[in-house]
Symmetry: C2
Amino acid sequence: MDLSSLSYASRFDHVSGSAIREIFKVIAQPGMISFAGGNPSLSALPDQEVSRLASEVLAQNGKWILQYGATEGYPPFLESLKSYLKTHLGIQTPSVLPVTGSTQAMDLLCKALINPGDRIIVENPSFLGNLQCMKLYEAELVPVDSDDDGMDPDHLEYLIKTTRPKMIYTIPTFQNPTGRTLSLERRKRVAELANQYGVIVAEDDPYRDLRYRGESLPPIKTFDENGWVVFMGSFSKVISPGLRVGYMAGDAGIIRKCTIGKQSTDVHTANLNQAIVDQFLRQDLLAPHVEQIVSAYRAQCDLMLSHLSRFPEGVSFTRPDGGLFIWAELPEGMSAKEILDQSIQEGVAFVPGTHFYAFGGHENTLRLNFSGSTADLIEVGMERLENLIRKNLNK
Amino acid sequence: MDLSSLSYASRFDHVSGSAIREIFKVIAQPGMISFAGGNPSLSALPDQEVSRLASEVLAQNGKWILQYGATEGYPPFLESLKSYLKTHLGIQTPSVLPVTGSTQAMDLLCKALINPGDRIIVENPSFLGNLQCMKLYEAELVPVDSDDDGMDPDHLEYLIKTTRPKMIYTIPTFQNPTGRTLSLERRKRVAELANQYGVIVAEDDPYRDLRYRGESLPPIKTFDENGWVVFMGSFSKVISPGLRVGYMAGDAGIIRKCTIGKQSTDVHTANLNQAIVDQFLRQDLLAPHVEQIVSAYRAQCDLMLSHLSRFPEGVSFTRPDGGLFIWAELPEGMSAKEILDQSIQEGVAFVPGTHFYAFGGHENTLRLNFSGSTADLIEVGMERLENLIRKNLNK
C-alpha cells in the first residue's frame, strides 16, 4: 500500500513549522549577514574551557558519566544548581529538574498540564518555538496586551476571569522577540493573580543575565507563595546552546509529573553535558564569562540602536536593557516579508515579526538580533537595511 | 490559592511511573547485586576513548559544536550515520534523524502519528519505557501473541484485521524483556502485513549488535517496500547510554514530521554528543569495541543460564542469542514481587515481569539482566536467588 494513505496526528493540523526553517536555510548561505537567529556570538562560546572541563570530569568520573543516569538529574549538578538558584536568583528550596535545553521544560510542562482545548495566555508576539510547542498540545492561545513594561496586568486579570486559562506563558526579562522587560511591580502582580485565580505561570527566563544597563529584577517565582509559578532557566545564552542544558524549578508535585514525562521522552539529559555545566558553576567560571560577553553584546546592541535611530521616520523600535533582540515596526503598510526578500538579495537576513504572533498579522514588524554578528557586520548590514527601507518608502 | 486545586493533564490518568523507580532506588543501596537495570557493564564504557574524542572534536570544530545546531542533526554525523546504516544494516537511502536516545524516537513517532484512542499492537511483555510513552499519547495497546520466534504473524494479521491499528511496536532482536528474536521469515511477513494493510511498524532495535551466537538477521526495514517501517537505533548499548544518542530512519515525510516535533521538544540533540559518536564511526572504533564487550557479555549470559539450569523444576527461562536479558517464569502461583521483597533483604535485585505487561498480571515472571554485573556477582546473586526460590517452594 502506498504511504500516501498515512494520516498524521491531528495535533499537527495547524503546525507547519516551515516558515522560519526556510529562512534559516537561506541564512546558511556563505557571506550572509544574519540578524535572524538567537545565536550567541561564536567568540562568546567557551570551546577551550569546555574541552578542559570535559577532560576533567571524564577523568574523575567517566564511567558513571557514560552510564545511564537518573531522570531526576546528575547528582553533583543538582547540588550546584540548587545552590546557584538560591544565591544567584533568590529561588529557595524548589524541586529542580535538569532538562535538555529549556525548550524541553516547556514541552514537559505542557505534557504534564495541558489537555486539548485548555487555554494558555501568551504575550503577543512571543517565542515561536514555544508557541509551536503549545499548539502541538492543542492549547488555545489567548494573547494578552503588552507595553514597554511587559504584560498589562489589568488586561491579564480580565482574561483570567473571562477565559479561565490553565497557564500563563511569559518571558519576563528581555522578552523574545520584543526585548521588553516586565517591571518589578508587575512581577509581583502576576504572582498574585496566579495565586488568586489558581493559574500556572510558566516563567521562561533565559536572557536575564545578559543585562547591559539598569538593575537586575527578581524572578516572578520569588513572589510565588503557593507553587503556582514554574521557573524555566537555560545555560544556552551564557555558556553554550549546543550543549542543550537547561532546568525547571518549582513545586515538587509538578516537577515529579514532568519527571515521569521525561522518563519516556529522553530518559535523562546527557550526564557529560550536565557535568560540564556543573563545573562551570563549581569553579565560579560563569560570572566572569558572563561579564565578558555582556560587555561585547552591549556594544553590539548600542551600535544597532544607533543605526536604527538614523532610519527614516515611521520606523519605530524597542530599546532593550539586555538580551539578544531589538523589535522594529516599519511604516504601516510596508511588508517585512517583502523587505526580507529584497534584503536577502543584498546578503542581509532577519525574521519577519508576523511569525511570532499567535495568530499572524502585524506584517510590518521584524526582529533583529545583534549577538550573532560582529560590529563590522552590523555596520554593513544595517546600512543596507536602511537604504532598502528608504527605497521602499519612496516607491 | 492552594496548589491542591491543580489538575494534571488526563494523559497521566493511567500512568504512575513509580513501580520501577522504587526498585531503582533500592538498587542504589551500596552492596546491592543488581540484575534489574538494562545497564552496560561499567568496564564496557569507553571513558578514555570518549575523553580523547571530545578533546579532538572540540579542538577541530569547538565553536560550531557549542553553537545551536540544526534540528535535522550535526552534518558530519548525518553523513557517517547514513553510511553506517547502508553498510552495517543494509538500510539504504532513508531519511535519518539523530535523536536524544532512541526513547526520543518513540516519543516523536507517537507525537507525529498517534491520536488518543489509536490502537498500537505491542508484544506482551514489552519495554516498559515505551509502553509508558504510548500510554501518555493515550494509545490503546493491543497485545499480540509471541513464541520463541517472536510475534506470531497469524495472530498479528488477525489483530490488524479486527482492530485496525495505527502502529505495530516491536523489538525484533533480543527483545526486552524476553530476549527473544523474530525469525527471518517472520520479519518478511511483518513487513508484508504492514504494507498490505497500511500499518506503521516501529522497529526498535538497540540490542542487535550484542549477538553471542548465530547469524545476524536483517532488520524488518530492509523488507519494507513503501516506507511503512520506521527503524529506531541506539548507541546506548554499544558505546554509552549516558551520551543519549540514537537515531530514527524511515520515510522522508514521517521523518520530517518528527523533525518538526523535535524543534519544540529539545531543538536538537547536543552537538558534542553527536560529534563523539560520529568519530566512533569514522575512526572505525565501533566494531572492535563491540567485539570486546560481546565476548564479556556472552560469558556473563552463559554463566547466568548455567545457574538457571540448576534452579528447581517448575522454573522456566529463555535462552537468548544476545542482548542483555533473560526472562524467567516461576512456578504457577509464586509471586515474583514477593521473591523480590525477600531477595532485596539478601542484597539481590531484579524486575518483576508484571511491569512489562500492558495490562499487568503474570505475577510469576521476572526479568534478569546479566550485563550490569560481574561473573563473581552473578555467582553469588544467582545462588541466593536459587535458594530463595527453593525455600518458597517448600513453604
